[in-house]
Symmetry: C2
Subunit: 488 residues, 2 copies
Amino acid sequence: MSALEELRGRMAELADLESIEMLLGWDQLVMMPAEGAGGRAQQLGVLARLTHERATADELGGWLEELDRAGLEELDGLNRDIVRVARRDYDRARRVPDELAAERARASTDGQESWQHARANDDFSSFMPALQRNIELARAYGECVAGEGEGSYDALLGDYDFGLSSEGLRRIFGALATALPPLVAEAHARLPRRELAVPKAAQQAAVANVLRRLGVEPSSWRVDVSAHPFTAWMGRRDTRVTTRYSDGEVESLLSSLHEYGHALYERQVDPVLERTNLGRGTSMSIHESQSKLWENHVARNPAFAEVLASELGAGGFAVESSELHAALVGVERSVIRVSADPLTYPLHIILRFELELALIDGDLAVADLPEAWREGMRRLLDVEVPSDALGCLQDVHWGAGSFGYFPSYALGCLIAAQLWEAMEAELGPREADLRLGEVAPIQRWLGERVHRHGRRLDTIALVEQATASPLEIAPFLRYVSKLGEPTL
Amino acid sequence: MSALEELRGRMAELADLESIEMLLGWDQLVMMPAEGAGGRAQQLGVLARLTHERATADELGGWLEELDRAGLEELDGLNRDIVRVARRDYDRARRVPDELAAERARASTDGQESWQHARANDDFSSFMPALQRNIELARAYGECVAGEGEGSYDALLGDYDFGLSSEGLRRIFGALATALPPLVAEAHARLPRRELAVPKAAQQAAVANVLRRLGVEPSSWRVDVSAHPFTAWMGRRDTRVTTRYSDGEVESLLSSLHEYGHALYERQVDPVLERTNLGRGTSMSIHESQSKLWENHVARNPAFAEVLASELGAGGFAVESSELHAALVGVERSVIRVSADPLTYPLHIILRFELELALIDGDLAVADLPEAWREGMRRLLDVEVPSDALGCLQDVHWGAGSFGYFPSYALGCLIAAQLWEAMEAELGPREADLRLGEVAPIQRWLGERVHRHGRRLDTIALVEQATASPLEIAPFLRYVSKLGEPTL
């Protein structure tokens, strides 16, 4: 076998192992009996170790060198991309000593446990040692992985969004931190948060029917319930989304469309990329842009509210589409990220970015985090944080050792708005179609401009190619300015 | 790390990979969207290849040699068994050339497809080339694996039931083939097959409640529906049984108890054996003895029929326990193995044993199989086979390349009866307890005598230790002679 065949064989194997890991994770959260947890942790550990071994094996380095020597210009465009990204992944993975990777995994498990305890007891100081350890290990990891002239935080970003820099994020988030607060003040009066007491059964019927309209068929999809909604894909024709239902709320309508966005992305990756190292979504921020596009621009669209209202009606809950739409777009200054509205949401993320960057750079001591959090929430959102449990202890990420992940949540909102504008500029306004639940042109446009590329394009290049413009905040600002208007 | 630690680490890894494979298989049959099949086959293929690599790696041989040199008498009893069985598994696996293993896997896939087509069209001749290839490959495999003085078929048996010999099976099955037909003739008149039209909903309610009485709790069990009932275990505290429901039948009551027997076996293996190479059921025939014990000796027990009838009643279907019992024990000479009653069932297996032994030994040509089947069914069961589809094409095993598997089905029936007698001799008759659904003493006895040993004892040694008697047919003959009596 040639070096290229060997390499592609290994990439196919790694893709399959990734699918298997996804299945184990999905099963754990959706199907597994609770007492299976110990065994599952062992199984996931073995799988991660084997995958790491196969992804960093000497022979893989040998094939890459042989291909380098032969010259990549010999290869067609697809194989050139496969080799380019394989080289990048291999080099990053090989720079991390096995002991450090194992130590990080252990610290992540310990940290999540410590965080859970600290949050339940509103006791930040008990969490400090675990957090300190996670920060030090993440910093050390970043230093190993960092390329020429890169800081540790930039290197951490690269695990989620290759090519982003803290410098670029500072600029974008700085502009957003200035522009958003006045819009929040204005919208706070105009779009008060409203409850809509939708019974669970009507939500279930509406979610099932809306997803079916979008093409969710049992022959290649599953829709289940889990404590936290998520999406898993075990190959292009086995997609599994989850949602959750609480009596008297509308969250399930938003979250099911959100997960659908993630799922559609993976399903529309070019089939020729299947079982290569390019055959999945390219980054966390592009993934989040796809979920946010369906959540913010479809589910929260006043025209699509007619579809949602009619499906709720068919499920036994009669509601005016304007009333439903108002319940889906209310704005409120709150202290909790996960339930934040589309307008205030990025401000929650900007705070986390500022703080985690300072923690990794050593500019903020762990002991000073709670006060920095309170100060930031006052500055950005004009709210008082009543406790650390509802403040800097609300998210699991830092307890799990994840630094550099938060930015993708806000970038996803920005990119979704930018893609939506570019799409409407090309296809015309979507209003009339959305009123009828017609989304095929949206699916096709996203497939062509975003999904099919898989990992062949990184975040920044993909945004520029899809929208003929660099990543910018103006489309998002226009979106939130018009939020709640009867037509967009 | 010492050679022993290395070895035990590898055994733990292989145990986890086996659990992962079980999950993939369970998910495929119970949860996976149909179009996921292609991807799942790839995932299973990668997993099998990695597992094989890790199980036959040179370094594993090195650890075993080092342990041999140091002397096994240095080790405690548990570690001695771990090393002994690891050596046996390693030697058997290493004797098979990779190309032969791969060729067998391909022939198995092709053979199943060919078989499916042949059965659907009642066209045995179209299946002949695939069957011929499977036989030749199985024979070649057996020759590689065979120990000193062993025939090819004996070596094949060893994959399912280590330590059995065709000679021993000939003796046992020969005696059974003589003793059973007169009993069938007698029972045929005494215990006619009776239908009992139980609605699906009542079956579902009864199965759920009966399993709950046996300790099936959602915290560490799942009960699902699948096309063919089966059991999967992903560690001791994650057990998953499936059943199926057809309106107007009673099969679900028997099959759910059958699967429960498999499940309980794996759950009661000694916890110190977990994640070793000894931490699972020892053989196919002991496994089948556990399922048959709960199916034949509990579910078909006239005393337990009172529990089943009362649960059906609670599910909305009123029935006398005697009437239900009669429907569970009816005897009928039929041509189909899977729906055969407890008395005629072993005769179906004896035929398959005779024929597959002759095929592997070269004493029967593939072209002569259909006629040999008809002759055997006349001789053993006194029935005429109307077609090959309902004759030698009815089972998938030979199409899949499995030879040496069938005997365990009949041995399971024999061993179940022998264990039941030994248990009643020690604990006293189970009748009064079973009438109340009290099974804890049975669970405990099986746990102590059978389950806890895992793979530390092979089939024959386990039977002798548990029952203080060699494997014999008399207990089974006593069981079927009394079948259908109001008390046993």
